[in-house]
């Protein structure tokens, strides 16, 4: 009975420790596990990469590395290696054409998808299938399509009355073939995102435009395109960064070589060859230097992209 004189609800011991330092410590502990993984598997290799780019290393024994200063960077651009580097950048930049092509395909398909009401889900599902297929399978499929004598494209062309084109064996047609394959598999996500973005546009804009007498084209260019420009910006940035680091498509399409006359040699493929086949000739140091130059290139392009974006991306819709 005397216990009723005390406080009715004494604080349990656990709550008294709520903001204690042990509590905060365990909070931090469970939260930073992915961050630890990031430090170990991304930050650490990046710093080591920066350091090794100033050395010449031909094996994974760190004690055998010789300090060469900026020689790695200079030798990347001089002489025969310089020609290879420039050619690799040219190949990669031409391959990046698959980004605008797949975005345009995505725009057109999403535009027509908006016009139909019933089958939209089925079309969306089918259009996204190439995106979930792996690069290896897609490249093998296209290798079969592009085959010179028995491939489907060449048989159709010869039925229509044209000569057969050597898609993968001639230097002029190798990159366009790779671009076609890249846009085939890359359009899926463009269609998906553009469709979602176009569905979110306020219909009252279109009704007001129709009352003012606008044609379909005018409505598309003046209402739809600005309204979905954030999606376009996202797609452009992500796909550009991915396409600048292309390697999988190039390896599988070209088989074991690097394309006719070395034209399938993208930048990352070049770097990968430096540590794989030509290890004694080139080494880890110059490969690290080349990858940092590519990273710088990507950063510059991304920065330019962001700067230009202020002119054409509108977030006001």
């Amino acid at each position: 009975m005397e216990h009723q004189a005390t406080l009715p609800n004494p604080k349990p011991k656990k709550l008294a420790k709520k903001n204690s330092s042990w509590d905060r410590f365990t909070n931090a502990l469970i939260t930073i596990v992915p961050f630890v993984g990031f430090m170990l598997f991304m930050l650490l290799p990046m710093t080591v990469s920066l350091i090794t780019s100033f050395f010449e290393m031909h094996s994974s024994d760190f004690s055998e590395a010789q300090f060469v200063g900026f020689n790695n960077f200079i030798s990347l651009f001089s002489g025969e290696q310089g020609m290879i580097t420039l050619k690799a950048y040219r190949t990669t930049l031409i391959y990046c054409l698959n980004v605008p092509i797949s975005m345009i395909i995505g725009l057109v398909c999403a535009y027509f998808l908006q016009k139909i009401k019933k089958g939209r889900q089925i079309f969306n599902t089918i259009f996204f299938i190439p995106y979930v297929c792996s690069v290896v399978a897609t490249s093998l499929i296209f290798k079969m399509l592009y085959e010179e004598n028995y491939g489907i494209l060449n048989t159709m062309l010869s039925h229509l009355g044209f000569e057969k084109v050597s898609w993968l064996t001639s230097e002029a047609m190798f990159l366009p073939s790779a671009i076609i394959m890249g846009s085939w598999s890359g359009s899926g996500i463009c269609i998906l995102l553009y469709n979602a973005a176009m569905s979110n546009v306020d219909q009252s804009y279109y009704e007001a435009a129709k009352i003012d007498g606008a044609s379909d084209f005018k409505m598309f260019f003046n209402i739809t395109l600005p309204a979905i420009s954030p999606t376009s910006f996202y797609l452009l940035t992500m796909k550009l960064i991915g396409s600048l680091q292309v390697i999988n498509e190039m390896t599988v399409l070209a088989g074991n070589s690097s394309g006719p006359n070395g034209i399938g040699n993208s930048v990352v493929l070049n770097i990968y060859d430096m540590i794989n086949i030509r290890l004694t000739e080139k080494g880890y140091g110059i490969a690290a230097a080349a990858s940092w130059i590519l990273a710088l290139f990507i950063l510059i392009i991304t920065r330019v992209n962001f700067r230009l974006a202020k002119k054409w991306v509108c977030y006001d819709f």
């Binding site: 469970i30 024994d61 990507i298």
Partner: protein, 351 residues
């Protein structure tokens, strides 16, 4: 009313002729075999171009003269034309899969030595699949690769998604010193291009003798991925704080709250991330290529690649492609909604 329908028929015809014009312009890229074809294409091109130019000019003149008409197409006609265009696109998407399927069923002689036809001439056979199962020359098999892929993905999937969701819970609801600093660093990390780590990870793994084992593929994934943390953090921030306070007053600790409140609420998002991570793991090609040298350790994609390099028979390669695509296709068709919703949300669109 009559004029409106007529105008819309004309607009559909013009759209079709625009498509034909683009197609013929595209055909001029190829070299014609003889003069007949060449002149047909040129005449088609010029006439279609003339029709279109005339239509555009007359449309402008008409529009200036007749003000009262409303210019949009009749909805039925637009829908028909949209269906035509979309059916064409579906055709382009589906054709490569159909070719792979047909090639994997054809006999060896027909697939490799005869010209490609859409129908089967020498009778369907599953010999290509039997060949794959019995192919043991190269020391590995496609089925072994499939098994390996699934085995290697188990640990990163479970542990990785678990730690990522735990971390997302921490960023969303828990407080500790330096939280915003770490979060900003992780945000920044997502924008870094991955190519700089390509050579050095191989170098580092080689120096600790992890190459030719499955450890480089499994261990990084177990720590969790930053993309998943961001995705789930948005999700968990939507959980009302009162719920958590009520649980705390009832005496639940942090982990208990996580398992009993956060996980059930976040179940759809976590399932989506599990699926997407598995798809990424299944389709990964460069990692296994770099780190695995023993043929028995190959994953599906690497096995497929080396397998196709080894044989030249098209029907067997096609069967291998089918084996690698079909599981992913089934997963995608069944879990279609989660996958597309997950990708839409993680790229910033709502819903």
């Amino acid at each position: 009313m009559k004029f409106k329908v007529l105008k819309n028929i004309i607009s559909v015809v013009l759209q079709l002729s625009l498509a034909a014009f683009i197609f013929t312009m595209f055909l001029t890229c190829f070299k014609p075999k003889n003069d007949v074809v060449k002149w047909t294409i040129i005449i088609l091109d010029i006439s279609l171009g003339a029709i279109l130019a005339g239509a555009i000019v007359s449309d402008n003149i008409l529009r200036r003269k007749i003000q009262g008409w409303i210019q949009y197409s009749h909805p039925v006609f637009s829908r028909i034309f949209a269906f035509i265009v979309l059916a064409f696109m579906i055709f382009i998407v589906v054709v490569p899969f159909y070719i792979i399927f047909i090639n994997s069923i054809k006999t060896t002689h027909e697939a490799n030595f005869l010209e490609f036809t859409w129908y089967i001439r020498e009778g369907a056979t599953i010999k290509a699949y039997q060949d794959i199962v019995s192919y043991s020359d190269l020391g590995f098999s496609i089925f072994g690769g499939l098994l390996n892929t699934i085995l290697y993905s188990l640990l990163p999937l479970t542990l990785g998604v678990f730690f990522s969701s735990l971390s997302a819970y921490g960023f969303a609801k828990l407080k500790f010193r330096g939280k915003s600093v770490i979060f900003t660093i992780m945000l920044f990390a997502m924008m870094l291009p991955g190519c700089v780590t390509l050579t050095t990870t191989y170098l580092l793994y080689d120096s600790i003798h992890w190459t030719n084992t499955i450890l480089p593929l499994v261990v990084p994934g177990c720590f969790g991925s930053i993309g998943i943390v961001f995705f789930l953090r948005e999700y968990f921030m939507g959980v009302p704080d009162e719920l958590i306070e009520a649980a705390t007053i009832d005496g639940a600790g942090k982990l208990r709250i996580f398992f009993t409140i956060m996980l059930p609420i976040g179940k759809p998002a976590i399932i989506t991330q599990l699926i997407l991570t598995f798809i990424g793991f299944y389709n990964d090609y460069l990692g296994p290529l770099m780190y695995l040298k023993d043929p028995e350790l190959y994953t599906l994609q690497v096995a497929l690649r080396f397998f196709s390099d080894g044989t030249g028979e098209k029907n067997v390669i096609a069967a291998g492609c089918m084996l690698s695509i079909v599981p992913m296709l089934i997963i995608y068709l069944v879990l279609n909604k989660q996958i597309t919703r997950g990708i839409s949300i993680s790229s910033g669109l709502k819903g």
